[in-house]
Amino acid sequence: MEKITNSIDLKEIEKKTWRSTLEDGLLDMYFGMLVLSIGLGITLGDLLPEPFDSLLPIILMIIGLILFLLGKKFITQPRLGIVKFGFRQKTRKLKTVLVLSINSIILLILFIIRLVNPDLRLIFPVYIEGLIIGLLFITFPLCFAAYFLQYTRLYFIALLVGLSFFLSDLLSIILPEPFDALMAFGIVSVIIIIEGFIFLIKFLRKYPLSKEEMT
């Protein structure tokens, strides 16, 4: 009853309601899977014959998405319940999609430019290039997404993923290519997946499987 006696702040209630849908850690684990598939994509690109080298990361991403959706359906919904958000949260999602779409378009343009001119390089040393690209095109857009979605853990994920390119460049000093990328993205993805898993366990404890409805 303590909840009732506290003053009612609708914005706080909206935030709490929204954040409860992110408590399960499934989205974190999905991000971890994405990072892992990027790492495998870079690594296997040199090891596997075509077209498996480019297909495997896509398959991994799809598997990650399927696992995420199944988790939401069979783990989260029976425990947390179902909620549909109103206009304000939909606007937040729309803004996130917009920022990430613009970012993807910029990345695609840069990729095409690089494809047309393979010798084109930034004026920075190679390892700084990875750091700048990671922070500029991964960390910042994901931070915007974290802000719009009020998803605090995404700031941490954004930083880790952004730094993974730099980490890969650093590891290339001691590891042969392409294992440096696999190691860097592997470490980052394992950290994110473990973090998500811890949140999932907390979620399962907080929301035990619900009894039948009594209405």
Partner: protein
Amino acid sequence: MAKKKIESDDFIQPLGDIDKIIHEPARLMIMSYLYVVESADFIFLRNQTGLTDGNLSSHLSKLESAGYVDIEKRFKGKKPQTLLKLSREGREAFELYRKKMEQVLGGLSQK
């Protein structure tokens, strides 16, 4: 003296107009949660409010009788699912309640 009494009653009068269905703490909480979302099911509302099944169920029945909450019962596979949303009247009543409470509580001071 009589004039003073009338003035005092005028000040207190808005309290009498407060919607008593919404004013009950548990129902106020239910209305607040349903106000910030488009719709939610029984389980979600129970988790958020911390109310027991029976308690939530009885308050929802009262809110439904008042026309403030729309309750849609359906089956998802073999499991029953109860979807809840504020009706237009419920939303308007909640907004009016907020305004009145602000009006009443805004006038209260410790001086």
